[in-house]
Symmetry: C3
Subunit: 158 residues, 3 copies
């Protein structure tokens, strides 16, 4: 089985590159997770997960992660990525929402916070707390990427 | 390693939402797997897997899953998602095919059944059984999502 | 947790099919991994991983894999997919880059090699070796797919 993660953090990064994937690689490096293997989740915070200010991953490990990501090659455009987690008052279960696109960091963050709130209301769950992170970038002459994520991990591996 | 799943089921759901991701979240809730973390597979039923009418997943777990999914914001459009598994007569190995798009549930299902049948013929495997599921939805004023899937799991965790 | 893979290989395949997913299925069969469940990684070679000329996977297992893949239905078009790994001189850590699109195999491979080299330079890591693979295909009357990948696995399971 896949073991369920029990710790998480929030990260973001923006960067440029000479290719779309290169810009993505540079952005996840800035976010501090560029030397790991990301496995994209769709997108729940497991109950009773514990927030960490920072998680240091060994190189090459497989990291369960929820993320939003945008790459653009259109010079002058403002791009943004954001994630929000709405966390339940009862058991710490959370719904993670992500958004990325042509937007400001502020607009992207307001949007994901609303989406996360809606998702909890739809589940009839009372919200204890909302955590969010957002980042924007003005596209330069090359490819640019903005990335925001909730990487998860295992406390026993710290 | 990732342990190989040994049980599976078929689920589907359609729903609306105020964003694309919100519609997806509501559709997977309707399908009964909305409080888990989906890890998308490409797409084989492991040999000797056992079909379950329903699998109850603990909240937040990482679920290996093959799925088809469509989101549309075009009012009045009929969207559908379908998955089919063609299962081998010899060892229960199966190929899972998914389709989603602007279609009726019936058309989507006929298409994935043909695709799964072709995949087994291409492997020179005799088919014991085909299982499939399909769902359609007429897009309302908001975003709509149709979702069909083969979620897998581990009998020892039931 | 997800255990970190310690062996890897390079594979590629091109094939046709009557649907996009069918063409993909046939291409991964040609690449020798069509009877497994692919879990897409983004995309690091773990330190001290050992290269294998070929890995034989049991049917249905969940395979961590980095890949590039293109499907086209445009008759006569030349498509290609390529992956490259730039491997560090110090600990065998590597960055995997993938590219796929309307291109020749040679152009795709030159591109991913440059991308992998750039990614290591950006990390200030000295390169010991670059491994790469590339494949091209001229699209026929049906859908065609080119696929190139770095599938990983676990030496203890060989």
């Amino acid at each position: 089985m896949f073991e369920t993660p029990d710790i998480y953090t929030l990260v973001s990064g923006s960067a440029e590159g000479t290719s779309r994937l290169g810009a993505f690689d540079n952005a996840i490096l800035k976010a501090g997770i560029g030397n790991t293997n990301l496995i994209k989740l769709s997108s729940i915070l497991p109950p009773d997960s514990s927030f960490q200010n920072k998680i240091i991953y060994p190189k090459g490990v497989l990291v369960p992660i929820a993320y939003g990501c945008v790459v653009s090659g259109k010079q002058g455009e403002t791009i943004a990525a954001s994630v929000a987690i709405a966390i339940s008052a009862s058991d710490g279960f959370g719904v993670i929402m992500e958004y990325s696109g042509v937007a400001s960091a502020k607009d992207a963050e307001e949007r994901v916070i609303k989406m996360a709130r809606d998702a909890m209301e739809h589940r009839n769950m009372e919200i204890r707390e909302i955590k969010s992170i957002s980042i924007e970038h003005i596209v330069s002459a090359r490819y640019s990427c903005s990335f925001a994520a909730v990487p998860m991990w295992y406390s026993k591996l710290l």
